[in-house]
Every structure is written in structure tokens, then in C-alpha cells.
């Protein structure tokens, strides 16, 4: 068994059958991280000592007959989730020295499941970016082509899975930050319904849009991990009070009767032909598996990005006001007075993209501009949501591309923020409406992975995962591995 290319579901069975121990598995991954990560930069912190302790505890738990399905399975944790006693940087100089005093709800859940945290994954600073280039700790490289970006903001998580440095990872998705890197790196990623996974202990970017979720090789692993991540948490004021669900129980390969909608707006001139060809082919496969395909109209889809950037920037300017150089985080040297302390600490601590968004958000919320920008964006948000609600009256799942193109070269959009924002053209509408959506591998264009996006109705993750699983029973795109890594492996 090629351990680093094996799914969590298969590893789980191997652990249960005592074919391998968690300590052995963890050592295999740590050793691979040591060899490959210097070239890929997927992790900000490697937690070797902790991982081996957790693996030992998982083996003991298994010996005592108390193991769950993910007990002893290693994962990497996006560095946006607070981990008690471990550096939690959010890829910012502002938090470069921040050792979290408590665990995020997600971390509590994964600890309770007995999972093994290998490290904290690199990301765009404060999750603001679509390329992982805004990280204070340097860009992450795409395992399929080291001169290209892995996508963002959960780029470290996606690249780690693609490179076989971990079978599972956490991510967060505010405007596409799970789905776009999943597409660029050829892995599977799920953004759950807003409220499904608690935001407690997850560093806030735009609170009405932020949602944590799982990243993995395939849909079955996503279902396993979502089952652990999901759940009501009273410490998150917008946590959804749903009954616990086993998302693996609905997986089967029969799609008869499933109604799939193709939004014509997602097949526009912005879509590159190579991506379109793969996505249309994937939809044909779903049809062959029994799904009915029809067109749907998301009339205001083109306005989702402008509305998203106003709302996300406004919420970020408010959320990031907490970084004041007083209670935690970076503080400037020798402040002359309190205002100087605030202004210099913040300007030194935040990178350029973060400052740009704080400025845009502050502008949009300032006197005289509020109605024209923030108010207007919230009205468009309603129209976007209504488009989806209408579409879901006639279909069960919406399918389309996750991104307009495949992974682009490092530096391709530097100093061109608007062009970079347009990379999220097919993902932001989902966040505005709070819907669950995923990206799964659908083949390659010029040797680079293409992602198929599947969007579901509120709290309909089970059906999304079933659709993706059926597709993956019939295709092997999710099993492909980056050939270029072989050079680094030797």
C-alpha cells in the first residue's frame, strides 16, 4: 500500500485491521513532510512532537476498543483555527507570535475524534486571497507545477493533500477559499452550509460568509470528516441547530432521478475552453449515471463578485479592528502615543492586500457612502439568493466550473487586484446565499487539474456528497498524483 496516496477511509480500515499503527502512519507522513515541504511550503508549523503524542494516544485508544473511524488518522489544520499552546498565525505578521490560549470548536471536535494534527497549513493572510501569495510566510507551490499557485486561501491545505503530505485537511471558504484551491490542486473540497460548522476559534474575516469545512482526496473522505466537524455550538451565534448526521450513510452510486441544473451564466466568455470541455464531459458522466440535466438561470450571477467584495471588505474592516497592538498580536516599537500605537502596529502587522481591503471596507461603510455601497451590496445579495431559491425549485444540484481557468503562474496577478478577484467568478455567489458547494477533480487541461463545482440547497450536503461519490465511482481523476513530485521524492 502506497500510504501517502491512500484515502482516509482505506487508512481507517487498515488501522482497524491492525495492519498499521497510527504511530507508523504518522511517522510516514512526517518523514514525507520533511522531504517535500521545503519545496512546497504548505505548512507554517510542523507539529512533530504533538503528532506523535496524539498518534500514541490513538493507538492506545484503539487497543482499548474505543476508536472511532478517524481515530489515528493524520490531518493538517489551516492556520486560521486556534490551537491551544500552538502558534496560530493566520499567515500574518500581525499574529506571527500568537500562541492561541484555547482550541477552536473544530479542533475540539477533531481532538475528540482522536485525529492526529501534523501541522498548521499555510494560507493567504487572514484568508484574503485567491493564490496563497499574500501569506507572510511565503507563497505555497502547486504540486502539479511548482511555478504555479495552489489557489487560495486554503492553498496550503489543498497542496498538502495533493502532495500526499496528509490525507485530510481543514479549510475555510469565504468566497471560494476551499473550492478554488481544491480545483487548482486536483483534490476534493466541501464548503458546508453557512452555520453547519462552528466558527468559534476560527479567526474572523467576513462573519456572514465565513464557513469552515473539510478537504480530502475524495467525497467519501469529505463525508467522514464533515460528520466529525459538523454540529451545533452555542459559542457561535450563527451556529445552525441541526441533529447530528452521518454523511457517509447516504453514499451510493445511483443517481437516478437526480435533477441537475446548469446555469448558463457559468458558461460565459470568461470560461477557458479547456475547463469548459472537462466540466461538460463531467456533466455527461453524471447524466449517464442517471441524472437529468436541464438549464437554470442565475440572472444576477455577474453581480455576485462586486457585491461580495463590498460585503467581505466591510465586514473585514470591522472584524480586523480588534488588532490594536494592545491585547495580543504585533505591537510597534516605542509608540509616541496611543494613536501612534494603533496605527503603526496595524500598518506594520498587516500586509498590502489586507490593508487594501480594510481601506475599501472602511470607505464603503463611511458616512455618505454606506447606502451606495454596503446597502446596495446587501440588496444584490438578496437577488442572488432569490435566483438560487428559484433554481432549486426545479433542480436538486447545480453543476458548473469551480474556476474560469486552471492554476495560474506565481505573480500573474500581482498589483492587479481586480483581475485576481475575478478568479472567484463562479464561487462567491454561493457564499452570499450561504449554500453548500464542493469542487471535485474532473480531469486535466494542459496537464493541470480542473474542478467540477456542485452546489446544493441549504443543508443538503448529503445529496452533494452522494453525487460526487457516484461520479468518483465511475472516474479516476481523484486518484491521479502529480508526476513532477517524483524528482523531489528521491
Amino acid at each position: 500500500m502506497d500510504l501517502h496516496a491512500t484515502s482516509a477511509a482505506v487508512l481507517s480500515k487498515a488501522l482497524a485491521a491492525k495492519q498499521i499503527s497510527s504511530v507508523e502512519l504518522t511517522k510516514t507522513y512526517l518523514e514525507r513532510i520533511g522531504r517535500l515541504n521545503p519545496s512546497l511550503n504548505t505548512l507554517i508549523t510542523v507539529c512533530e512532537e504533538l503528532a506523535l503524542e496524539q498518534a500514541q494516544a490513538a493507538d492506545t485508544r484503539r487497543a482499548n476498543g474505543a476508536a472511532g473511524r478517524l481515530t489515528g488518522i493524520p490531518y493538517v489544520n489551516k492556520d486560521i483555527f486556534c490551537t491551544k499552546g500552538i502558534l496560530t498565525t493566520c499567515a500574518s505578521k500581525m499574529l506571527a507570535n500568537f500562541v492561541a490560549p484555547y482550541d477552536a470548536h473544530v479542533v475540539e471536535k477533531l481532538n475528540a475524534a482522536g485525529m492526529v494534527m501534523l501541522g498548521k497549513a499555510n494560507m493567504d493572510e487572514f484568508a484574503m486571497g485567491s493564490s496563497n501569495e499574500t501569506s507572510h510566510f511565503g507563497a505555497v507551490r502547486n504540486p502539479w507545477d511548482l511555478e504555479r499557485v495552489p489557489g487560495g486561501s486554503s492553498g496550503g491545505s489543498a497542496a498538502a493533500i495533493a502532495a500526499g503530505l496528509a490525507p485530510l485537511a481543514t479549510g475555510t471558504d469565504t468566497g471560494g477559499s476551499i473550492r478554488q484551491p481544491a480545483a487548482f490542486c486536483g483534490i476534493s473540497g466541501l464548503k458546508p452550509t453557512y452555520g453547519r460548522v462552528s466558527r468559534y476559534g476560527m479567526v474572523a474575516f467576513a462573519s456572514s460568509l465565513d464557513q469552515g469545512g473539510p478537504m480530502a482526496r475524495d467525497a467519501e473522505d469529505l463525508a467522514l470528516m464533515l460528520t466529525e466537524l459538523a454540529g451545533f455550538d452555542e459559542r457561535d451565534s450563527t451556529s445552525a441547530d441541526c441533529a447530528p448526521e452521518d454523511f457517509t450513510s447516504q453514499l451510493n452510486s445511483d443517481l437516478r432521478g437526480l435533477r441537475i441544473g446548469l446555469p448558463m451564466q457559468f458558461f460565459s466568455a470568461d470560461l477557458t475552453p479547456g475547463v469548459e470541455e472537462r466540466v461538460r464531459h463531467a456533466v455527461d458522466v453524471l447524466q449517464r449515471l442517471g441524472a437529468e440535466v436541464r438549464e437554470v438561470c442565475l440572472r444576477h450571477a455577474n453581480l455576485a463578485i462586486p457585491a461580495y467584495y463590498v460585503i467581505a471588505s466591510a465586514e473585514c474592516s470591522s472584524n480586523l479592528s480588534r488588532y490594536d497592538g494592545v491585547r495580543f498580536g504585533h505591537r510597534c516599537e516605542d509608540p509616541s502615543d496611543l494613536t501612534d500605537l494603533y496605527r503603526r502596529s496595524r500598518s506594520e502587522g498587516f500586509g498590502e492586500e489586507v490593508k487594501r481591503r480594510i481601506l475599501v471596507g472602511t470607505y464603503a461603510l463611511s458616512a455618505g457612502y454606506y447606502d451606495a455601497y454596503y446597502g446596495k451590496a446587501q440588496q444584490i445579495r438578496r437577488l442572488v439568493q432569490q435566483d438560487f431559491a428559484e433554481a432549486f425549485e426545479t433542480v436538486d444540484v447545480i453543476a458548473g466550473p469551480a474556476t474560469p481557468q486552471t492554476a495560474f503562474e506565481l505573480g500573474a496577478f500581482s498589483a492587479k487586484p481586480v483581475d485576481m478577484y475575478l478568479q472567484d467568478i463562479y464561487t462567491t455567489a454561493v457564499n452570499l446565499a450561504g449554500l453548500p458547494a464542493m469542487s471535485i477533480p474532473a480531469g486535466f487541461s494542459d496537464g493541470l487539474p480542473v474542478g467540477l463545482q456542485l452546489i446544493g440547497n441549504l443543508f443538503d450536503e448529503g445529496r452533494l456528497l452522494r453525487t460526487a461519490h457516484a461520479y468518483q465511482q465511475f472516474t479516476d481523476w481523484h486518484l491521479q498524483q502529480p508526476a513532477g513530485l517524483k524528482k523531489l521524492e528521491s
Binding site: V99, Y102, E234, S237, P335, S336, L359, L383
Partner: protein
């Protein structure tokens, strides 16, 4: 809509950021481009549309008015840049 370097300075003051005179024109150009881009929103008439603040239109949860927090001051202050006797230290604000 074009943003001037002076406006950038005004917004930076509101946001408690220090953007110096040499960087202000750069940010002014960038902000202008972003605002020009988001102005696409004006292509649709939204009069009468109810603004949407939250995806699930959730109501705030209420709880009993009981003390639930425990004292974690020492733990929370362990990550502060400067504290003394349980207080956060900042430059003198009262002469």
C-alpha cells in the same frame, strides 16, 4: 469613482492605519479601480429589495441571564505585548 490621495489619508485615519504620503497615491489608484469595478452593482435597479445581512435570516439566540464565563484573565493576558498587575499597558493617555 476616483479616490484622491487625501481621501485615502482620511480613510486610513478612520481605519487606524498609517499610510504615508508616498504610498497614498498608490492606494488611491488601487481603491479607484476597485470602486469602479464594484460600481457594476448599479446596473440593476434594487429599489424595494429587502437588504440581506445573513444567509439564514437567523434571529439572535437568547439565553438565561446567568453567569457562564469563568475568570481567564491570566490566560488571556499571557499573549498580550505588555501587562502589569492584570492591566494592559499603553502609552500615557492622561497628562
Amino acid at each position: 469613482m476616483a479616490v484622491t490621495p487625501d481621501e485615502v489619508s482620511r480613510i486610513a485615519t478612520l481605519a487606524r492605519l498609517a499610510i504615508d504620503q508616498t504610498d497614498a497615491p498608490y492606494y488611491a489608484t488601487q481603491l479607484s479601480k476597485i470602486l469602479e469595478f464594484v460600481a457594476q452593482m448599479n446596473s440593476v435597479d434594487t429599489s424595494g429589495v429587502q437588504p440581506m445581512a445573513h444567509p439564514l435570516d437567523a434571529k439572535s439566540r437568547l439565553r438565561d441571564d446567568a453567569i457562564t464565563e469563568v475568570d481567564q484573565r491570566a490566560l488571556m493576558q499571557s499573549v498580550a505585548p505588555a501587562v502589569e498587575e492584570g492591566l494592559y499597558l499603553v502609552p500615557r493617555v492622561i497628562e
